[in-house]
């Protein structure tokens, strides 16, 4: 359980490690888009973590990164094909960002830092934790932007859950309070405010005692 919690809160891929920022900002303009991408990246993360963990003794150390990338690319292709078959309208909206899941440093980071040296069970928990953490960030930002940009919540859920779900929409205001939220500047501004909120809250709460045996978080330092 510790592995799971770490991915959701302490090492949340979005606000603690700043990974997967491109899809986070790009598809969070409504809850349904955000949920679609969260499910897609969650599936790729889970599949690649399991495969890499199973193959961890067979992948030669020198060629591990190309192997990981190929495994992730395979699962991304599967996701693209499944979405094309079952949620085509939604796929067309988020197509580019589903395809570039393969370059999402969050997934490669988990493969390298965790799945390649842990048994399958732990790798599954780690993938689920990270996926849930990413999904929470996506859904919060998606919800806020949808409320501000459209004045609704859960609109067009039928794209993902079939025609019955089109009645899930909750109308909050008749006019959109802040249409800017749907445009790129709105994404940057709201994400900035959200991260500031998280950072502010983290300052208030006393940091929990760190587990000394914890696997150190893989942070990708571009300056090195």
């Amino acid at each position: 359980m510790n592995t799971f919690n770490r991915g959701v809160l302490e090492n949340n891929p979005a606000w603690a490690q700043l990974l997967g920022l491109c899809p986070l900002l790009a598809v969070s303009n409504s809850v349904v888009n955000a949920l679609g991408l969260a499910l897609a990246s969650g599936f790729v993360l889970l599949g690649s973590n399991i495969t890499i963990s199973l193959l961890r003794h067979r992948i030669p150390d020198v060629a591990r990164l190309p192997c990981f990338v190929l495994i992730i690319a395979t699962f991304t292709t599967i996701t693209v094909m499944v979405l094309e078959a079952f949620a085509f309208t939604l796929y067309l909206r988020i197509a580019l960002f589903v395809q570039i899941i393969v370059t999402n440093c969050m997934i490669l980071g988990r493969a390298e830092a965790f799945a390649s040296r842990q048994p399958v069970g732990a790798a599954v928990l780690d993938a689920l934790g990270t996926a849930v953490g990413f999904a929470i960030a996506l859904l919060i930002l998606g919800g806020v932007r949808e409320i501000l940009g459209y004045g609704t919540l859960l609109r067009e859920m039928d794209l993902l859950f079939g025609p019955a779900a089109s009645s899930w929409v909750i109308d909050l205001t008749s006019t959109a309070p802040l249409p800017l939220a749907l445009f790129p500047p709105g994404a940057f501004l709201l994400a900035g405010l959200l991260f500031a909120l998280v950072q502010g809250l983290a300052k208030f709460l006393t940091p929990p005692a760190r587990d000394l045996n914890a696997v150190p978080a893989k942070t990708i330092d571009y300056e090195k």
Partner: protein, 192 residues
Amino acid sequence: MTDLSLILLGALLVNNFVLAQFLGLCPFMGITKSYDTAFATGLATTFVLSLAAVSTHILYNGVLLPLGLEYLRIILFIVVIAGLVQLVQVYLRASSPVLQQLLGVYLPLITSNCAVLGVSLLAIGQDLSLLQTLFYAIGAAAGFTLVMVLFGAMREQLQQSNLPDAFKGTPIALISAGLMSLAFMGFQGLIV
């Protein structure tokens, strides 16, 4: 000629890849802490991005499309990009130690820059010709470099400013990027 310049300007300013299409945000947030590194990364990315867009275009239209294997594009493109990055590295080491020293450390990171894969996929989605793809890639890469350098210069100032604790670091960087993106929205009037 006009359509080529329109493609170039469109990718450079109007649909700027970082500020309007959210591609390449990892290096945008990660490396732009100083002006010099931002510029070097921009140069290295420009180089690889143009090469990658052209070679993926040739491979897609020459191999995948005739064989009906379009669904393999993601796997093929990521291999091509990773291979190109390696090739460029080997070539630079042998031919130009100065450039190698300038760009060397930033090159391997380009493989995981989603802008490179994104541009290749977008160019194919729009059915651009080879020449148009080249201009599109150069425009996209130049736009990336421009924004990286502008933002790098801005962040050097931000580091010295007195901010509330909650906004230090990433939050204020995202908010400044938002204001910059707002300014770039003004370019949409440029091409009607």
